[in-house]
Amino acid sequence: MFDYILQLLVDISFSWVRMFIALGFSILLGLGLGIWAATSRRAEKVIIPIVDILQTLPILAFFPFVIYIIVAAIPGYMGINAAVIFLIITSMLWNIIFGVYESIKELPHEFMELAAIYGMSLKEKLSKIYIPASMPKVMSQSTLSWAIGLFYLVTSEIFSTSNETFMVTHGIGVALTQLALSGNFSEYIVGILILIVFVILTRLLFFAPLERYFNKHNMSNIQKTHAIRFVHLIKSKLKLKIPKARIPIKFAFGKKRDTYSLSNEVIIKQKKSEYANLVYAALAILFVAVIFSNKTLFSYELSILVALLASFARVWFAFAVILLISVPLTVYLIFFSKRLSAYILLFQIISSIPATIMLPLIVSLFVKMPFHSEAVAFSVYFLSGIWYIIFSILSQKAYIPQSIFEVKRLFGIKGLQAWKKIYLYAIVPGLITGAVTGIAAEWNASIVAEYFTSSGIGNGAVLTSVSIGIGKLLDVSLDNGNMVLMLLALLNFTIMIIVINRLVWKRLFNRIEDIYK
């Protein structure tokens, strides 16, 4: 009777092997690219802006395309696994690159002079300066990467079960989908529990010791006073445990233009951006011209725009509901609750379950409801985004000056005034960072939230399918082998994300920087 547990352990081992391979590649690539960008001006100018765009793209939406290309190149088992691992790398890599880049940029200038005076070779510079300087951040970013990667892993595994040709044979996502769809709910729950245990064990047995090891030179600090040590303890705890928003604000959309910099520079920059605008305009005209020149393309474009609009409405509706819940919740936790750390622990355990693994369960639960598919899509979007926002806001608590709590008590600020004058200001920076990552996570889930069949593992029944949406459109175009439609959809999708980043988030970040500076 416990055979299925053994089977689940085998399946989760397969998943974990994929994760570790992806993490290994991500760390190697992250160190290589991060060090390169931090030490060469030319590399910096290319790598940083590209990574900046890539990290805000919901790359999971590209999975149907990636799996199609890679399986065409390497057929069968190897190709599918390569596609899954490639995808996980795209979720883990960016924050590691930024971690390495920041670590090296923050190094005192003297360290480079030291290397010059003692004639260190490149190998010595790498092994004695660059890599040891980066490793603490690489490790803390890796724990974060692991959490995001798990979401990508499970989602790509689940996605694969909807199509026989592209099915992953062993994996926790596949196994749990099979259990849930065959009605074995108790076994499904056991599977989820095993997953949680694996997540916790990985944190305790893999990440925690490594993090301690690479920080050992900071641990034995006898110089610092108790108060400072306490602050450090809290800071390091928050850093370790709260998956803080993936994008550091200052890097999220490139650096803000320095208002005080020499006027010459500003003019050059303006000229450059005028030039860039011209290029964008030319590309846009070209794009429209191509679309209008071809009837099929034109009809594709129309259906893509409608699909994007429909998914946009779902994603942002789910985001609105997330705000309605997470804002009061986090304000309560930050300003009133005495058991914040207990709640954080609880949330961490719940959030370690990738939202998409609930999909089979949600599908089964909602199957008899009216608007069943819309309800499924909403639930998956909601669960995918909410934790990013909650954790991002909670991680802000460390940055709220203690005096604000004291001011609130001294002057007895309460009710609406407290909301307007204190609470919102305290949580907004975390909220914005969380929103960017949370909404990206929602978009990522779109390929399973909107359309899902069981043809990979069973009778081919359509389990959930919204009437129209970008996730569905991508899935269906893969099933039909319609690459033109898929590529056009991805192009539109990418443009939409970049436009929203520039028009909404970048402006918000700039305003917030002005206020909170």
């Binding site: 003692y118 004639g119 010595e124 034995s220 006898i222």
Partner: protein, 246 residues
């Protein structure tokens, strides 16, 4: 001909002239202090001498050869120690031998000996963060002299320390440099502390404000160890103050 010659050095950062035409000669067995108001380019000058920065005008000659890049006869002590926090103290000291083709055991042996000499025995395998400021600078000093350099450049080596620690370390530095088994034959130190300059040096190069040039070069003939309360000592200090504030 001096051991090290600074000839007509000039340097600018963007449109700002930092250093204008600085010239002085350093002989064997001298301890030279470079003193001047803050922002006058003292540290930049020291980095030019070390070969870390290329001067825009003029040149630095060591043994008659132009210094164009760091060289293994010239070593450096940093103001903020510049110890790599992730390496143990002894590994930091061994960095000073990067340019030398000697075995790991030999490096280890030399470094251990030095730890004994600078009074840090037992701290070899600890990390720099465990040490006080004074101890950190001792490690920095050990790293600078482990390669038996001929010239030691020091960039405000005592200014990150509290006054008592600095005083003790200064006394140790004098003793160490005068001991026969340390082959350092020239020290050039940047400082903004007049008493420190008088206490340690045989020659003080006094710089003006930016763009800095040499205002005066003052020889100090007092015998070591110098008594800071003696009349002669005070006279030298007063003289330098006068030149600085002129």
């Amino acid at each position: 001909m001096g051991l090290l010659e600074v000839k007509n050095i000039g340097y600018s950062i963007g449109p700002v002239h930092v250093i204008e035409n600085i010239t002085f000669t350093a002989m064997k067995n001298e301890f030279i202090s470079i003193i001047g108001p803050s922002g006058c380019g003292k540290s930049t000058l020291l980095r030019i001498i070390a070969g870390l920065i290329k001067p825009l005008r003029g040149e630095v000659l060591y043994n008659g050869m132009v210094v164009e890049k760091p060289n293994r006869d010239i070593s450096f002590v940093f103001q903020d120690f510049a110890l790599l926090p992730w390496l143990t103290n002894i590994e930091n000291v061994k960095l000073g031998l990067s340019l030398f083709d000697i075995s790991e055991e030999e490096k280890e042996r030399k470094a251990k000996l030095l730890f004994k000499k600078i009074g840090l025995e037992g701290f070899e395998n600890a990390y720099p963060n465990m040490l006080s400021g004074g101890m950190k600078q001792r490690v920095g000093l050990a790293r600078a002299i482990i390669s038996d350099p001929k010239v030691l450049l020091m960039d405000e080596p005592f200014s990150s320390l509290d006054e008592l620690t600095a005083e003790a370390l200064r006394a140790d530095v004098i003793n160490m440099l005068r001991s026969p088994d340390i082959p350092v034959s020239l020290v050039i130190m940047v400082t903004h502390n007049v008493e420190e300059a008088v206490e340690l040096s045989s020659k003080v190069v006094i710089l003006s404000e930016r763009p800095s040039h040499v205002k005066d070069i003052k020889r100090i003939g007092l015998r070591y160890p110098r008594n800071k309360r003696s009349k002669d000592f005070m006279k030298e200090v007063e003289y330098i103050y006068k030149v600085l504030t002129e």
